[in-house]
Amino acid sequence: MKVITKTLTSLSLILLFSLTAFAKGDKKDGQNSQGDPINTKEEINEYIQHHVKDSHDFHLFSYFSGGEEHHVGFPLPVILWGENGLTAFMSSAFHHDDDGKEIVEKGGSNFVRLHGKIYELNAGATEVAFDEAHHPTNASMPIDLSITKSIFGILLLGFLMLLWFSKLAKQYKKKAIPTGFGRVLEPLVLYVRDEIAKPNIGPKYRKFTGYLMTVFFFIWLSNLLGLMPFGFNITGQLAVTAALAILTFVVYMASSNGHFWSHQLWMPGVPYILRPVLAVIELAGTLIIKPFSLAVRLFANITAGHIVVMSLIAIGITMQEQMGAVGSTLLSFVLSLFITLIEVLVAFLQAYIFTMLSALFIGMAVEEPEHH
């Protein structure tokens, strides 16, 4: 039993920490509808745009042989709540189509996929009709409960976190000092507790450490997972970062005390005439700017990192005319390696910043008035 858990931990580690740098090279020959490699700047641009979005299937890479395009990856379950109730099928039913051509008939409804989104055709329609802006006119969007790539990544991370940290928790039952991988995790836990939670929140830190630790490790591991070859981009989804930011918002609003609100609405120590102005500014900060900046900062940093790394890899193709095949490949390799290493740092930094700011906001909300 012990051997199995050990192997499982090692495997999960290898999964997370291997092949980081040369990951994206494969994706130059990605998915496209024309059936030939992506060569032009427009195609590369479109590919990058496509990559940073969420997707319904897990696509690792494609290759061409005999003029045919072969995709390597695996389908993910699509779960929809549409006009005719709940429907589920595998994303392979779309046959990698993303232009609304392949129609899947399931549970009495017709579904198509268009630019990464699934539409349900209105009753009677057999083909998607578009308006001038290329928006479908005869289809509606069902509630999408699919296990998309990001959701798959979130589940994977959740599973890994539970596996690693519950194992660490179990170790403490037998001994005071953990061994093996737990010895790596313990300083991280201590770091979040002593460097992020304690100094920013103060004596009431214990209540919030569970939330902060989950946030920290989730963001950090998501960022790292995003640097790996599988093409995850969890924290580069605005929906994900917004969900995290709004949770922080809910936490600090729910735990805020009277002292905090008295400072928000009627700031002591400033002239009376300024107090309403300050209250407006403070309220805007607390209610809108703080969560918004949290969400956008993380989203923008991670998305920008992905786009930069992929663009640098694309130099290998786009600069071929000017520099020759060897020169452009070398340049793209050196630059993308450099940026990927920086991204490893950014992965930690953004997790730290998000958690630290969350702790700071919570600390401001729960701060007790000083007794003089």
């Binding site: 999408d144 539970l162 403490y172 039952k173 569970g210 630790m213 989730f218 989804q237 929906a239």
Partner: protein
């Protein structure tokens, strides 16, 4: 901003929120709570061990100080005891000497007295013997003298002649 909103997927937002809340719940229950409790306990036990070590050290120091004090006291006591003993010894010797001298003086005095008494009695004895002897001698002399009547008479005559009767 428009692209930002286009990128925003409400489905993903809801799914992430629910999954993340579940993750927080599970992590708090199975990981963070036991880990933080264990860490706290460990830190407290380390602190306790350090404190008790400090206390033991202090106690040790106290004990050592006590010991030193005791040793000092014992040393001083020994010192005084030795001093007293020496004094007693000297005094005893002194006393013994005095006593012995007194005894000797007494004995000498006694001996002298005895000698004196012996001497006196010897002298008395001698005197009496001398007296009886002289009486005897005198008796014998007188007897022999007196036996010669003529001579006696001549002597009386001579003596009477010498005595001038005024």
């Amino acid at each position: 901003m428009e692209q930002l909103l286009e990128n925003f997927s409400l489905d993903l937002f809801v799914k992430q929120t629910i999954l993340f809340l579940v993750l927080i719940f599970l992590m708090v229950k199975f990981a963070w709570k036991p880990i933080l409790t264990a860490l706290n306990d460990r830190e407290e036990s380390i602190q306790g061990a350090l404190d008790s070590a400090e206390a033991a050290k202090k106690e040790m120091q106290n004990l050592q100080a006590d010991n030193e004090k005791l040793i000092k006291q014992a040393r001083a006591e020994r010192e005084t005891l030795l001093k007293e003993a020496r004094e007693i010894k000297a005094k005893m010797i002194e006393d013994a000497k005095g006593e012995a001298k007194a005894e000797a003086d007494k004995m000498i005095a006694q001996a002298q007295a005895a000698i004196e008494a012996e001497r006196k009695s010897a002298i008395a004895d001698l005197k009496s013997q001398v007296a009886s002897l002289s009486v005897d001698i005198a008796e014998k002399v007188v007897k022999s003298e007196l036996s010669n009547k003529d001579k006696q008479l001549g002597l009386v005559e001579e003596m009477l002649g010498q005595a001038t009767l005024n």
